[in-house]
């Protein structure tokens, strides 16, 4: 069974929990005392990931860190449809990779702002928030044009990819960092659609869609 070195309030760990829930892949969550214990910075933990960060997975001895790399692995290995990480469609795969890098941007802006507010991380909060708004504006327009084309997801396919999962937590938790989504109606409709995916699961701070 996959072991996930996990922290309840981490957006990046949630990306993995969400992906595995959507893929219906069982896993064991190994809680790491990220905060206030800073367990991920201990020498002991650095034996697992020398960079000292989470999430990390250990799939029967195969150890991988970095939130977006783990999404690639999980999708490539456990998705029989080949849709989440579409290796058989180079153009779509390119898009997915491109938006994964966009997700690095949302991590370093929106999620960083959240860490500043929640856990008192020492970041330039104004720069984080301004950066998040810049990215959200771009994504909102992008998603608006997707909707015009009758498409629901970040990439051009009719199905979601790991790009959606990589970006979603950073977006849906942005208000905790003081980044309002009032100006981004397309973004908000997209978060509703992600929440409606079969197998969707929440984390503290994310509200489920209604049951009807």
């Amino acid at each position: 069974m996959i072991k996930l070195y996990d922290y309840e309030l981490s957006a990046n760990c949630y990306k993995q929990r969400l992906m595995m829930s959507l893929l219906d892949v069982p896993y064991e969550s190994v809680p790491v005392d990220f905060f206030p214990g800073l367990q991920h910075k201990t020498d002991e933990f650095k034996k697992i990931n020398p960079l000292g960060h989470i999430p990390v997975i250990d799939d029967d001895g195969y150890v991988l860190w970095d939130a977006h790399a783990i999404l690639v692995y999980l999708a490539a290995k456990y998705d029989p449809t080949g849709q989440w990480y579409p290796t058989s469609d180079p153009a779509l795969l390119g898009e997915t990779a491109s938006w994964l890098l966009f997700a690095e941007g949302t991590t370093n802006t929106a999620s960083a702002a959240r860490l500043y507010v929640n856990l008192s991380y020492d970041f330039d909060i104004d720069a984080c928030r301004a950066g998040a708004h810049r990215l959200f504006r771009v994504l909102d327009e992008h998603l608006w044009f997707r909707e015009r084309d009758g498409r629901d997801w970040v990439c051009s396919a009719a199905h979601p990819t790991i790009a959606d999962i990589a970006i979603f937590p950073d977006v849906v938790l942005s208000e905790e960092g003081g980044v309002s989504r009032l100006d981004y109606p397309s973004l908000r409709r997209w978060t509703d659609r992600v929440k409606a995916l079969p197998g969707f699961s929440i984390m503290p701070g994310v509200f489920p869609m209604g049951t009807s």
Binding site: D33, P36, S120, H133, R134, E175, M203, P204
Partner: protein, 304 residues
């Protein structure tokens, strides 16, 4: 681009009731000997450091003389005061019981006033909706009648005989239980919950929220636990507690006004809100003005 939500000037506190209270700065074990740290309390930037003997020192960062502020170490935290502090902090005798696990559950920043956070902690009606399948679940949504009183000696506000069905009441629970709750407010910005534990019939777990008011609408919420739980690691206890608080945070941040309105005409109470109403009235009686919207002198006074 600029947004109005960038760092604003903090509202410094001129409320003597709040200035003359002990406030929890941070856990003692997060203070270092070799370099100072900094934190904001009531709009003021403070510096802190452990001296050579390991005793905490706190001072106003802007004060070149570093005049020491009053300091108290209690319940794992370093408390300080910007005014004249009371002789003692409120008592939690359970802290000294030898078989207790005293755990600092973590500190989470929330963009809301301390009184709103206290009131949320006092509320049971949201358990099935915000802490679904843990502290509550439908159809067990009813909040049975409970009692509220003010302790004549300590002036603490108490809610007693609270009872609620909980699928997973604590880290030691393996099945659902009816939890008995006692709530106690011994300080305008601190609240304590006493809760039945599956392990002992006549003793209770203690879970508290000690809020450091950064600003009148911004807090650092310290989660303090004094538990009867010999088995679970601090990591597991923290995961449970932070998970719960992480679910409350977006509710708190989506409430407005952010300052707690003390006027009875501001919001609509139901019987489940008895302790919240008592808390608001208590804050009014104390004369608190920071973190709240006080009842305006011209409004009609409500007699119960």
């Amino acid at each position: 681009m600029r947004t109005a939500l960038t760092t604003t000037v903090a509202t410094t506190c001129t409320d003597p009731i709040i200035l003359n209270q002990w406030h929890p700065l941070l856990p003692l074990d997060e203070m270092a000997t070799d370099h100072p740290g900094t934190a904001v309390l009531l709009g003021e930037r403070l510096s802190y450091q452990l001296d050579a003997n390991g005793a905490p020192a706190v001072w106003l960062t802007a004060d070149v003389d570093a005049t020491p502020l009053p300091v108290l170490v209690e319940y794992l935290y370093v408390w300080t005061c910007l005014g004249s502090p009371p002789d003692e902090l409120f008592a939690i005798p359970e802290f000294s019981e030898p078989d207790r696990r005293n755990v600092h559950g973590g500190t989470i920043g929330v963009h809301v006033s301390a009184p709103r956070a206290i009131e949320n902690f006092l509320d049971m009606g949201h358990f099935p909706y915000v802490h679904t399948d843990v502290l509550g679940v439908e159809p067990h949504t009813e909040v049975a009648e409970y009692d509220v009183h003010i302790d004549p000696e300590t002036n603490d506000v108490w809610a007693t005989d609270c009872i609620f069905y909980q699928p997973r009441a604590s880290t030691t629970s393996t099945e659902g239980q009816m939890s008995d709750y006692l709530y106690r407010v011994p300080h305008p910005y601190c609240v304590i919950l006493y809760k039945t534990t599956p392990l002992f019939e006549d003793r209770m777990d203690v879970i508290a929220l000690f809020c450091r008011p950064v600003d009148d609408d911004q807090i650092q919420a310290h989660m303090f636990l004094s538990l009867l739980d010999p088995d679970n690691s601090d990591t597991v206890i923290r995961k449970f507690q932070q998970g719960i608080f992480g679910q409350d945070k977006p509710i708190l941040e989506n409430q407005y006004p952010k300052l707690l309105p003390l006027d009875p005409r501001a919001e609509t109470p139901i019987r489940a809100d008895k302790i919240a109403i008592a808390y608001r009235r208590w804050l009014s009686d104390l004369g608190v003005t920071y973190g709240v919207i006080p009842v305006s002198p011209t409004s009609v006074s409500m007699t119960s």
